[in-house]
């Protein structure tokens, strides 16, 4: 589904140029669950941001089911993103002024889903996430694990083809972390493609394939046999 070739991204600040991505090649199949690992500063987040169309690389090609995404203009990128992608961040990034329900509803509003259907979809996913009695709360009133579940719910509510998760368990203890990982697995089993950045090999063990990054290069790839068979 995703074909990334020779991706390069350079950050220019006043003093120095940092090559965050240095000729990345990456293919992701539909329904695959890919983990990206590597030391801090190796370009994992940058790669995820480029895949999520939040950032523009200097050169290379990024094809999403035959569509070249890097030549799109701002509006087309924004449209493509809201129809096809969902995001989960390490620091949840919920809007403090909106309730759980409203936070989850937001992407549907931007996708112009009618109000009645929105309500149905949000309630459905709130049920699945096991946060029913929290839907009127504000993010500050929830625990970290609950907040991240809300964030996952928000990423899923539009039924995206691709979910991008940047260290989704980074701010959680292991119990809550596992809950979130199980959610992602369930999601993957229903056919959603997932690309996840993580530092934890435990988390990575949930995925089909682990890609190791260093200094903006892919240095190794490992198939997770236990999981991949299911896919085939």
């Amino acid at each position: 589904m995703i074909k990334i070739e020779n991706l390069e991204k350079v950050y220019k600040t006043e003093e120095i140029e940092t090559t965050a991505l240095n000729g990345i090649n990456l293919h992701v199949k539909e329904g695959e669950f890919v983990s990206i690992m590597g030391p801090s500063g190796c370009g994992k987040s940058t790669l995820l941001n480029v895949m999520g169309l939040l950032d523009k690389p200097e050169s290379g090609s990024y094809k999403f089911i035959e569509t070249e995404l890097l030549t799109l203009n701002d509006r087309e990128r924004s449209n493509f993103r809201k129809r096809n992608m969902g995001f989960v961040f390490q620091n949840f990034n919920l809007i403090d002024e909106l309730t759980v329900f409203e936070n989850i509803e937001l992407p549907l509003i931007y996708n112009k889903v009618p109000a009645g259907e929105r309500k149905k979809l949000v309630n459905e996913i709130i049920g699945r996430m096991n946060i029913v009695n929290r839907s009127g709360h504000f993010p500050q009133q929830l625990s970290g694990g609950q907040q991240q579940r809300v964030a996952v719910a928000r990423a899923l509510v539009t039924k995206p083809k691709l979910v991008l998760a940047d260290e989704p368990t980074g701010n959680l203890d292991s119990t809550h972390g596992n809950e979130v990982m199980e959610l992602l697995c369930e999601l993957n089993e229903t056919g959603t493609t997932i690309v996840m950045v993580t530092h934890s090999s435990h988390d990575a063990s949930f995925s089909n394939r682990i890609i190791n990054l260093k200094d903006g290069h892919v240095i190794s790839e490992k198939i997770n046999k236990g999981r991949t068979e299911e896919l085939i």
Binding site: G52, L54, S78, R81, F87, P107, Y110
Partner: protein, 797 residues
């Protein structure tokens, strides 16, 4: 400690340069406008205040009340009144008559000084005038200088013009109207600018022609009478004597049942627009109050800006507050610290404001056509005002943010956990609404003022004003003999269309009222405004007759033309009925031959008076010439040279009628301009405040904006979202503003007898203006926020 606080304050100001400059700049133009308003208002309130007995000086004035509720006022009194008052009232210490007139004044050549000849405003005053008003005498004294016939007192300035040096003037001779010699017996110091008495040349009252007139039926605006109340006498003690006086002289006659005389305090002469004054400068209290309100609005908007930005910024200083509290600082100390920071900013703004107002003072002087000079520090009271402003603004703007900031809990503050709402979002929104409401009120006010002024400019007054020149004529009997010859010569000039002799133009500030009879020997119970005019007057000024014909050529009163108002007041329904009825006034008798369509004989502030017009050569003061627009310049040159050959001893004086009319609305012109300028300043201040606030809000919401973008919001959707909340505030503000503005505007318009109908459009328009400016401001700023880099905003804090 103080030094340290100052350092922190200055570094903070520097750190938030953007907000600081918005604050300081907004505050500075607000304060500068207040300073200008203060200087203007101080000047207006200083009129006629410098007389030792000022609070006991009164002017006798005249009013006519009609059964239909109409009232007319005159600053003048009948000629015999001063003497009668002196005789009948024990409550007055002094009574003085003073008459305004005009004439050609000439001083013979002196060695080393050429002859000076000018057409001047002159006065005849009784010596007691100068006992009531304590002028400073450089030479002579009030008791001797004006007692004898043919004596004259000059102001220092006039003496210098006529004789080179006032010291040489004493004992020298001035010639009035080429006829009578007057000996200069006294010199008084010049009047200041803020005086209703522009006295330059004052002749002794005993030299006044009509000094012995016994005519109680006529009043002219140039016949004034001043009295000095005895010490300890209350105004209420005058009620009865005045009534007795009226019964004795005015009310026992059949004609003047409604005439009233009252005393008007000296200090209101500059402010009461019912009556005029010699200086023709006046400024009603209403207008002054209007300006003061705008000043308060200005201060308020500037302070609101300050409060908004300071509280919005407060969160970023929460850590400093926390640390200080941990180190043992008490809340009171913190409040003082923040207040002194505000005072520092206000002080900087005040310095800037002084510079700004110094730069704009000349512009304000221009409004007065150069008659007035203002200086920033000319009156020490300004320092008191500046100090008061410093204190008031510091407290008004600084107290609330200081309370908020000093109230932070140290535990939360140190951990930077004070939420964005700490500054009181609700209050901030309320303040913005107040600010926008003020803005909307002023936009509405400005629109209505502009509309009314252009209405006045364009209103058909009922007569022609274009290309009519008014040339003054010499008044002596010898010159009067040459009038007809002059007219004949003028008609020979190419470009002259019509010529008319008259006592005044149709609309003029010199007015005469008199009692009269209509179709009976009994006097009518109201007075008529009279004009002496010749047969060509109606054609020259384009006046329309609705019945009959213009008066025929004559040098004395033979026939009358009256206006619609007069016959309506007499209950004559059909104008044709009035034709042929006999009238008497001013000792003349004759039939009414025409009824003229009503035209505005006063300014549009006042109703049209009942009028009678007739020919009477002895009252013609000037000649009105209707010109061909094609070559006015050339024609007027020929008119001037004709005048100079016909009347070589006189001074040619010419005024265009339309220019002359503008003078009626000078006060409105000045106030209109001030209103427009200061209203724009308020509008400007509140919008830079808005810009500051939206910048802050955008910064605060950066993360939210980024999240929304990730979730698929387009830039347009984000801009819309940010606009929305502000547009609501603007909408509410407009709803608040409408009723308030309606009351203000209605009141102001009520001062005009002829005014525009108040429509909904200024209100709608104000809303559209404020909405579109908001949209522009918010869009500009939020576009930047929406475009900002999403990923940076989402990085971990």
């Amino acid at each position: 400690m103080f030094k340290l606080n100052l350092k922190i304050a200055l570094r903070n100001l520097w750190k938030y340069k953007g907000y600081t400059s918005i604050n300081v700049f907004g505050l500075a133009i607000g304060l500068a406008s207040c300073i200008l308003i203060f200087i203007f208002v101080r000047y207006q309130l200083s009129f006629d205040k410098d007389y030792a007995n000022g609070d006991r000086i009164y002017r006798m004035v005249t009013s006519w009340k009609y059964a239909d509720g109409n009232e007319f006022y005159s600053q003048g009194v009948p000629l015999p009144l001063p003497a009668a008052v002196r005789n009948d009232f024990s409550q007055f210490e002094k009574v003085a008559a003073i008459q305004q007139s005009s004439g050609i004044v000439k001083a013979k050549a002196l060695p080393g000084k050429a002859e000076v000849k000018k057409s001047e405003s002159i006065y005849y005053a009784e010596p007691s005038f100068f006992e009531i008003f304590d002028y400073k005498w450089l030479a002579g004294n009030p008791n001797q200088s004006l007692t004898a016939p043919n004596t004259v007192v000059l102001s220092e300035k006039a003496a210098n013009t006529y004789f080179g040096d006032w010291r040489k003037a004493i004992g020298n001779t001035l010639i009035l109207d080429n006829k009578t010699d007057f000996k200069v017996t006294g010199i008084i110091k010049d009047n200041p600018q803020n005086s209703s008495f522009p006295l330059e040349i004052i002749f002794s009252y005993v030299s006044f022609n009509s000094k012995n007139s016994k005519d109680w039926g006529s009043v002219s605006s140039s016949w004034e009478c001043y009295v000095l109340l005895k010490k300890g006498v209350l105004l209420s003690e005058l009620d009865k004597p005045i009534q007795q006086f009226l019964n004795k002289y005015e009310n026992d006659k059949d004609a003047s049942g409604k005439v009233g005389h009252t005393v008007q305090p000296l200090k209101t002469i500059h402010h009461n627009d019912n009556y005029g004054n010699f200086a023709n400068k006046y400024m009603p209290y209403k207008q002054i109050i209007g300006l003061v309100i705008i000043g308060l609005f200005l201060l308020l908007t500037a302070c609101i800006n300050f409060i908004n930005l300071a509280t919005a910024q407060a969160i970023s200083r929460s850590k400093e507050v926390g640390v200080r509290k941990v180190m043992g600082s008490r809340r009171k100390q913190l409040i003082w610290q923040f207040l002194s920071e505000t005072a520092l900013i206000t002080f900087i703004a005040l310095l800037l404001a002084c510079v700004l107002s110094e730069l704009t003072l000349p512009k304000m002087e221009n409004l007065f056509g150069g008659d007035v000079t203002f200086s920033l520090f000319g009156h020490p009271i300004i320092f008191v005002f500046l100090l008061v402003m410093l204190v008031v603004v510091s407290f008004l703007a600084g107290l609330y943010p200081a309370l908020i900031m000093s109230g932070f809990s140290p535990a939360l503050a140190i951990k930077n956990k004070v939420t964005a709402n700490a500054g009181g979002v609700g209050l901030r929104k309320t303040l913005v609404v107040v600010q926008f409401a003020i803005t909307a009120i002023l936009i509405i006010g400005t629109l209505v003022v502009i509309k009314q002024m252009s209405f006045i400019r364009n209103k058909s007054l009922g007569f022609d004003t274009q290309a009519i020149s008014l040339v003054s004529l010499p008044q002596d009997s010898l010159s009067k003999l040459k009038y007809n010859g002059f007219k004949e010569r003028l008609s020979g000039i190419k470009g002259v269309k019509n010529i008319s002799f008259c006592s005044a133009a149709p609309s003029s500030d010199s007015n005469n009222e008199t009692s009269f009879t209509y179709n009976s020997s009994k006097r009518v119970d109201f007075q008529a405004n009279v004009k002496a005019v010749d047969e060509a007057y109606f054609k020259t000024f384009g006046l329309q007759l609705i019945a009959g014909r213009p008066i025929a050529k004559s040098d004395t009163i033979k026939e009358f033309v009256v206006n619609e108002t007069l016959i309506k007041k007499l209950n004559v329904k059909n104008p044709n009925e009035a034709i042929g009825k006999i009238m008497t006034l001013w000792g003349g008798k004759g039939p009414i031959v025409g009824v003229v369509k009503d035209f505005n004989n006063y300014s549009l502030h006042e109703k049209i008076a009942p009028m009678a017009m007739f020919s009477r050569k002895s009252n013609y003061r000037g000649i009105a010439i209707k010109l061909d627009v094609a070559d006015i310049g050339n024609t007027m040159k020929q008119v001037e040279s004709t005048f100079n050959t016909m009347f070589p001893d006189y001074v040619y004086e010419n005024e265009f009628f339309d220019e002359n009319l503008k003078g009626f609305y000078e006060t409105e012109q000045i106030m209109g301009t001030l209103f427009k300028v200061f209203a724009s300043v308020v509008i400007f201040i509140s919008f830079i405040g808005l810009f500051g606030l939206i910048s802050f809000v955008a910064t605060q919401r950066t993360k939210e904006i980024a999240i929304r973008k990730v979730l698929g919001a387009s830039n347009l959707e984000l801009i819309k979202m940010l606009n929305n909340s502000f547009l609501w505030m603007v909408l509410i503000a407009n709803m608040v503003a409408w009723p308030v503005a309606y009351i203000f505007v209605k009141n102001w318009l009520a001062g005009f007898e002829y005014r525009i109908d108040l429509s909904i459009w200024p209100f709608i328009f104000a809303m559209l203006i404020s909405m579109s400016i908001t949209i522009i401001t918010v869009t500009l700023r939020s576009y930047r926020a929406a475009k900002a880099n999403t990923i940076d905003a989402l990085k971990y804090e």
